[in-house]
Symmetry: C2
Subunit: 405 residues, 2 copies
């Protein structure tokens, strides 16, 4: 039996905390630590009320304050830190984990505040440090990144000798009833999607303007949805770990109204990440936008519809062409009923807890820094389905997938 420390108190942390509390056979106790301790207390109180699980402690912590976090880790001595706060904080939390000798898991790769550039280089650079310390760092264990890589590893293990084409497809066919809101931290979301797109082809990255490649892809139980190629961080590790891949792309659905709002937000300068002087105070427009937009955590109550995220793969098995699709659909309302958070938080928090469970039960082990496709996918996917994210697969994909010859 083990104890973990969850850093963060947003929707993803809420889901992961609920899920840990549902499995006291692994998570004997845990701490939730965040800048605003009242948010941690609220989650702890809800868990005790809903699940009767009382082994949650809380603490106030600035995750960018390495000495303070090191001290808190040394005081609580968790078996694993689950970092479910902001990706800006990956490195300071990894540093504190190394100081205190504690293993680490996160759901999004490090990104410097001043440039929206998603790449694993910053965190892969910790490889030797974690190896030397005999500690494990599990990077990107949400849904995407996270489950999509485990799906790919599962496909490689069971259905392919060589993967040639990989398309990760991410649909949110939900409706939260607000004029405009982002499904997770708007600051991170808008930084991510206003970047140039990028995909891997024939050994190099092809850069494209944002939203310049669009197709109506067909999603199971959802139907066709306008989908756009954008860069997503798991592509970087997947093409490294599966070098037979000739092309890897990431597709995400966006509605026309969402894109209109995004275009205006950029036009009026509110997507900017450089500070501007306003009445003697430096304000970063995108951070202020986050303040005025609805809290993604508030979207759950009236959220209807579902997400559908999976991998469409083409390659070779036993000398023959093979196509394959593996995916999960998640209902927003069901996620909210169980955890008080909507589906986008749910599909990130459940894999985070499942990855933590893999580590704590010894299924995923090793000293160093790992992306999740480097581990055995089978026990993870078994538990993932049991924990609320059942997945489906089929060999032989339909024509909507539009793979090249």
């Amino acid at each position: 039996m083990s104890k973990v420390m969850i850093i963060g108190a947003g929707g993803v942390a809420r889901v992961a905390a609920f899920k840990c509390a549902e499995h006291p056979e692994v998570f004997e106790s845990f701490m939730i630590a965040s800048r605003t301790v009242s948010k941690c207390d609220r989650i702890a109180a809800d868990i005790e009320k809903e699940l009767g699980y009382a082994n949650v402690t809380t603490a106030a912590i600035d995750a960018e304050d390495v000495p303070a976090l090191t001290a808190l880790l040394n005081e609580y001595r968790p078996d694993l830190v689950m970092h479910l706060a902001l990706p800006y904080q990956d490195l300071t939390i990894m540093d504190a984990c190394l100081n205190a000798g504690i293993s680490y898991l996160d759901t999004a790769n490090y990104e410097p505040k001043e440039e929206a550039k998603f790449e694993y280089g910053h965190q892969w650079a910790y490889q030797q440090k974690f190896k030397d310390a005999g500690l494990t760092a599990i990077l990107g264990c949400g849904f995407d990144p996270g489950v999509t890589q485990v799906f790919t590893a599962y496909a490689a293990k069971h259905h392919f000798d060589e993967i040639h084409y990989l398309d990760i497809v991410d649909a949110n066919a939900g409706d939260h009833g607000k004029a405009f809101a982002t499904n997770f931290n708007p600051e991170i979301n808008i930084r991510e999607i206003t970047q140039n797109g990028k995909y891997w082809e024939n050994g190099e990255w092809v850069e494209i303007p944002p939203f310049s490649i669009r197709k109506d892809l067909n999603y199971p139980d959802v139907g066709p949805k306008a989908s756009y190629v954008l860069f997503h961080e798991e592509l970087e590790s997947l093409v490294k770990n599966f070098p037979t891949i000739k092309r890897a792309r990431f597709w995400m659905t966006f509605g026309d109204e969402y894109l209109t709002h995004l275009r205006v937000i950029e036009n009026i300068g509110m997507a900017g990440i450089q500070p501007v002087m306003h009445k003697g105070v430096e304000i970063i427009p995108l951070e202020f936008l986050k303040t005025v937009l609805p809290d993604p955590g508030s979207l759950g109550e009236n959220y209807v519809g579902q997400t559908s995220i999976g991998c469409r793969i083409k390659g070779i098995k036993d000398g023959k062409d093979q196509t394959y699709y593996i995916w999960n659909n998640c209902q927003h309302a069901q996620a909210y009923k169980e955890t008080g958070a909507q589906g986008v938080s749910y599909t990130t928090g459940v894999p985070a807890m499942t990855g933590a469970m893999m580590f704590l039960t010894g299924e995923w082990a090793g000293a160093g820094v790992f992306n999740v496709e480097e581990f055995n996918p089978d026990p993870f996917l078994k538990k993932l389905a049991e924990h609320g994210l059942p997945w489906r697969e089929k060999l032989g994909v339909d024509t909507e997938m539009e793979y090249p010859d």
Copy 2:
């Protein structure tokens, strides 16, 4: 020969200052005072360079600081204050004028910061004070409000026994080449146009949702443009001063892209005028939006096209139906070439200077608070045309005007 004090250093103040300097026979010298004295200095330097007029002094002043402004007025002793800064500041400047015994002119009616409610009540309440002091306060002497009321007074004087229907039509058929920008202070502009619309009919105000009445009106030398009914402050004084008016409306043109941007700005909460807490600082979203949007003063350089603003009137003359249209068209590029400011600033600054000239030359006189339609329109309109805003008129309007039977 007289001297005036211009308060403000934006586009309108720049135009008015240039125009005053072009008429040293009336404006022997003047001061430009504003919170940021460097902006005043820049206008003074440009005027000296372009026009060889060196009688401009500048000062730093917070127009909301009544004692400081009173002291500055007592020191400079102008014959008139031309308030061309923000409408929030009307009352403090009127107070300082009363303290110092100096007459007053502005271009927009007072509006409290905390509610976007345009009405003359606040300023009309100063009637007795100005009367007792033997001072003149001239309210709303820009284009609209301002010239539109003088146009109406001119129509009433020369072409109608009774005005029954008045439609003020304001087209900006210009293109500044920016994705989105407002033509004057974005804070004031967005407060104004996101309000419910309102027009006068049969003795009462009819309130309508924003942008809910639209017609394609035809503008001279411009053609048809989508035009929307909104409330504009001069309607309030016109229906009071011309009680025969059965219906008075104000129309303004907006492009679809402008309205899309406006809709998104409201959806995302950036049109809000209540402060929100952001990192421990109270920020008013609309004020911050003003900070990130292009400075309207920067639009001039590449601005093409023209404005067209006028009054369409129906009524009775000598017992017969009469229709009449009086308007001005103003080219942005020409305004910029002359003053370094675009047409929307030009059409406000020129009437402000012309009104000041009316007061200083004794054409407009009286103790108390006045709206401009209460004065003799003839000398004003003669000078207005000479000063760069020639106007045209015709009896018998075309069917695009769509008056009711």
